[in-house]
Amino acid sequence: MTSASWDAIFVGAGITSLACAAMLVKRDPGMRVLMIDKHIVVGGYASTFSRPKQQAVFDCSLHKLSGMNEGGNLIRILRDLDLVDALELVYPQDYFCAYQGKQALPLANDAERVERQLTERFAHQAEGIATFFEQVRSYGRNGYYQFQMLDGSFEPDMAQLRYAHRNLKHKTVHQGLHELFDDPYLIEILAAPGIYVGGYCEDLGYLYYLHVVYATLNRGNAYVRGSSQHLSNLLAQRIEQAGGQILLSTRVQAVLTDGDKVSGVRTDAGTFHAPRVFINASPHYALQHLFEPGLKLAPTREKLRALKPARSTTTVYLVTDAAPEQLGLIHSESMLFADDPAAAAPARMRAEREGHDAALCEEAFWGLSPIEVTNYHALDPDAGKVVCINVLDSIAHWPQRRTADYRAKKKRAAQVLVERLLRHVPGLRGHILHTEVATPHTYVRFTNNTEGSGYGAMVGTDLKGHVFHHGFPIEGVQFLSAWVAGPSYEAAFGYAEMKARQWRRA
């Protein structure tokens, strides 16, 4: 195999890589694809791990797929790949259920109904709510159909585009929502979908966020039964059926070049040659570890300085002794908000200003920020009685792995986050059999992602860094990951589709 030559090599078997390669072998069936990953399973974040003793399978990412109703980009792509029948999609009833104190507000999985529900609950903010949903329908929609806009199949209203560019692009979600609303709880509820793309309200660009709301709410969402791993495995199967090969447990040591052209990769399992190499890894990692010194990468490195990672997550996996929905966690997804919803953003900003002081960070991220809870059992009972708690976090206040401090901190994270869940859903108390914590360091370990970010780059108000790959000096290298596509499954598939369309054999 070492001497064989390939048409394309994919460094990393994450979801963008798998989707792109599956599309390529469908378009060009004789194509020889080699994919290499250091992990033992395909999928990157779109993977699972199991605990047989607990009869549980844990999903490493929240595999809530956006764009899954008619008119959605992702459902169209999945249909093009003939994957829909094999996927067993689960369409949840609610967008999510918002909890604060003893009050639960389950938001319908339909934009118009959510608008009505919020207008009813926050009658004093009715005007702002109407403006907000109009912004989602216009500016959010334009962002969502960006690729179609570029190929001419979607006609944007130029005046809208220009307005958004001048007035919305430079605002954070925090600023955008505070201009419309003064009710802090409403602001926290509306900012919560930012969690799907790895950003709090002070992080994300408002215009981009409108697109995220449009994608997840107006264009529908669904889960895959059998979790994200099932989706990744199906894509891998397509690649292998077409003669492609996937090497797991194999580390790529270097991307090889011949003059200013890429020529292949060197791995733990030998050297492989190809005129095209797709990098499905954090670009910071790739530039630091995969390219030989002496290449003229300084301009790319300089541009990359502006590309900030999205937040990482701390995740608590729980196994219960009875079906969680029978213990009171009735919705597939819940967002739990602090008693004082106005406190979270200033607390996070203060913790960061003060050099990520550990106590301040724990209070800000774990204690006050919204936490996202998924009842996986309600989506797929075969994977066990699993509940998963996610909170956007920062690696900066986590000590190194394999230290007593790290282990103690993991314990504290579980205590704080589980206790918040139990306060909102007291029926779960006494029914938790197993608790396990994944930290930002866990994610670095399995994905090499910068600062453990599970979402690639942060889409803030400054987007300069997002063009880091423009004019990359080595011909034949393409960057293909959430770091360029944007966070979420839908962005990954959309970008993979664009790359596959551009494919020409060398």
Partner: protein, 88 residues
Amino acid sequence: MTTVDSVFSIVRELILELKDVDESDVTLDASIEAMEFDSLDFVEMQVVVQKKIGVALDPDAFANRNITTLRQVCELVVELAEPVEATA
């Protein structure tokens, strides 16, 4: 007919509207770097070129070709606008 100059006048007008740059700095030989374009600016430029000149710039044209100056952008648009005449 689409010429480098006609494309440039459209691109120039757009840049002046989008970015806080000095008018005298937006020349054909200015680097794209100097315009500090971000990914959304590229989208808007591509949409405007599509609408006004009828040329669909590949979203990744900037990544794949070594385009560093505004002249090269305009030349690419001209190239795409003019169908290549078949040689007998």
